[in-house]
Amino acid sequence: MKKKVLAALLCAAMTATLLAGCGSKAETPADTPAAEEPAETPAEGEGEEPAEAPAGDAGAMSFEIVSKGLQHEYWQAVKQGVESKAAELGVKVNFVGPDSESNIDQQVTQLENALNAKPTAIGLAALSTDAVKDQLQTCLDNNIPVIGFDSGVPDAPEGSVLANCSTNNYNAGAVAAEEVYKAVKDRIDGTVRIGIVAQDATSESVVNRGLGFIDKFAELAVADGHTATVVGNEKYVSDSKCEKTDGANVILDVRVPSEVDSAKSLQDVNSLLGEKDILALYGSNEHSANAIVSAADNHSEIGIGDDKVIAAGFDSGAAQIEAVKNGILLGAITQAPVQMGEKLVESLYAAANGETVEDIDTGCQWYTAENIEDPAIWDNLYGK
């Protein structure tokens, strides 16, 4: 009996600690009632029919921006870009976002509040297009221009979203290819292999980052008189624009694990390193770049130098940033959330002035041990 009571007490204590842990976490968002803020901003923006505001009357403009998140450093970087550009143009902005990317209801409420504020224009990165269809219609009816950003508003009703400001992943992959090619081009002698470690062959962003790299690398190699081919995962082989030559001397070898599992991606890197002709590695997102970093713990051949396997990554997780600083990775590509925020405000400004707006590639940056501390880059990294 005594044992049972003890066991019960122990369990109660454990549950209590667990609940206490969760409780303190849950309170944080409640303290910052982001949803209530927008109400104050519009009071100062007088324009009742904002779309007609004369060009250059920036002081009367107010933009509402509803993001997919707020706390994460990535969104903070977007916000930073938004605010600096708004200050430069002299417009008012209000940047809000839900506590997590699963809080669709919260985002809808924030968008409602944004509409009630009667803004000149709205920036939106929707969690669910379906959930905001009514609000988009309201914007159309009231002539409030909407610009998408980041992943934008996929499959939005025709005409409701004027343009998107987002990273072109294909182009970003190509930038990585240019940098890696620059580092290894003098070592292409006989057959060489470039390993592409990809997390999957299904997600739009991951696939385009891989294809952009493959196509650009092949293009550069062919321009220098080499021949190129793509082997490995069927999806990448068939979707690549690279003209596959038999017996080519530059082999782009794409490895995709059967499921997203660090151990499996680590084995992909290992087997690529096992190829005698391996010259460089590219991990097309945080997961894949981390697999290269984990492998580097066992393989001293990964690094920077003429006798090393050159490695490059994408994104800016904490382990990756560390590896770039320590010279394990030559460098990595980061999206440019700060620029995304700036471009978004520029587009909103243009749209509010009745100008035609187009989709904008907000670009990416190649960061290395040398330039990582540069504020223009550092502010864009999320894992620091």
Binding site: S258, Q267, E286, N298
Partner: protein, 333 residues
């Protein structure tokens, strides 16, 4: 595979009986695999391959040791894969986001495992839930918890170059510039301890007895619920230890991950001769089985096999292993 040709003279040899037919077969298969992979790929023969096999073995072996106890009672623990991720996320979160001492993070990781293991055990033994269902539920719960506690962000344990990065060297020491897979020793020690616990102590024997015949065990006056719970508690603690091994090898983890890893560990235990129907199983068999799984996972990509074919081969190996178990129950082997 080979065991049929050897016939009865082989299976009735007392030494073979003592070690177990399946284990001997698996060791031979393991050696055959090592020879095949070494012959087919020069990369496989390198020291770095040994290191990465080890990186992928520690956590599987620790999960395997724990889940073997559940399997022996005739149950199963499906929460170990997502659980391992959840506990590693919690520990890493405390260290890197809450600036707590590393030791607190380590203790929290193991404590989370203990806690969830206890809950599993109580649901199964006192609540009377089928182990498969009970642990399927906790598998989902811990997956959600990990994401909530860390605020949906991935967690990166301190890297080896940072002053608090010593956790990464628990399993792989750096001696004079050479990486030594010291974790093998820790896993071996734990395996021996748990093997003695299972076979030579009263609680261990009770756990085996529950798996052979739960009703008879109860009637002979053993508190079945207590020892059944104990099996899940052990599984939970070892999942916590596996979380440390995992973060030592891979450093960063993403919320919601880990699903499917439990099947590799359970598969390893079954290849090693632990019966899915309970009542029999050995820790040494599990360790050997898990090694076979990691060797396959490392070797198959090196001989140029595409990812989905690797899955097929590992699935086939499991079918053979379970078939041996079926034959064993029919007393044919």
């Amino acid at each position: 595979m080979t065991e049929k040709k050897k016939g009865n003279a082989f299976t009735e040899n007392p030494l073979v009986r003592a070690i177990g037919v399946q284990k001997i077969v698996v060791v031979f298969v393991l050696i055959a695999m090592l020879i095949i992979f070494s012959a087919a790929s020069s990369a496989f023969r390198q020291y770095s391959t040994l290191l990465s096999v080890m990186d992928c073995t520690y956590y599987l072996a620790l999960l395997g040791i724990g889940v073997t106890f559940c399997l022996i009672t005739g149950g199963v623990d499906l929460s170990i894969g997502t659980g391992m991720f959840c506990y590693a996320l919690v520990g890493g979160f405390l260290i890197t986001q809450k600036d707590m001492p590393v030791i607190v993070g380590i203790l929290a990781t193991v404590f989370c495992g203990l806690l969830v293991g206890t809950i599993n055990g109580l649901i199964v033994s006192r609540g009377g839930h089928a182990p498969f269902l009970a642990t399927l539920c906790t598998m989902m719960i811990v997956r959600g918890m990990g994401a909530i506690i860390t605020g949906n962000a991935s967690v990166t344990w301190p890297s080896s170059s940072s002053p608090i990065g010593w956790t990464r060297r628990i399993f792989k020491m750096d001696i004079g510039g050479m990486k030594v897979p010291i974790g093998f020793l820790w896993v071996l020690i734990l395996a021996v301890v748990m093997s003695i616990f299972l076979n030579k102590t009263r609680p261990g024997r009770y756990i085996i007895a529950i798996g052979s015949n739960k009703e008879a065990t109860r009637l002979s006056g053993v508190n079945v619920a207590t020892y059944q719970t104990l099996a899940y508690v052990i599984s939970g603690i070892f999942t916590g230890l596996a979380a440390l091994a995992y973060s030592s090898a891979f450093q960063s983890m993403i919320p919601g991950g880990g699903g499917g890893i439990e099947l590799n560990a359970i598969g390893g235990a079954i290849i090693g001769g632990t019966s899915m129907s309970g009542g029999s199983g050995t820790i040494s068999g599990t360790i050997i089985g898990v090694f076979l799984m990691s060797i396959l996972q490392t070797g198959l990509p090196m001989i140029g096999l595409q990812a989905n074919w690797q899955q097929i081969i590992i699935g086939l190996v499991l079918i053979v292993a379970v078939y041996i178990d079926v034959l064993k129950n029919k007393k044919l082997v």
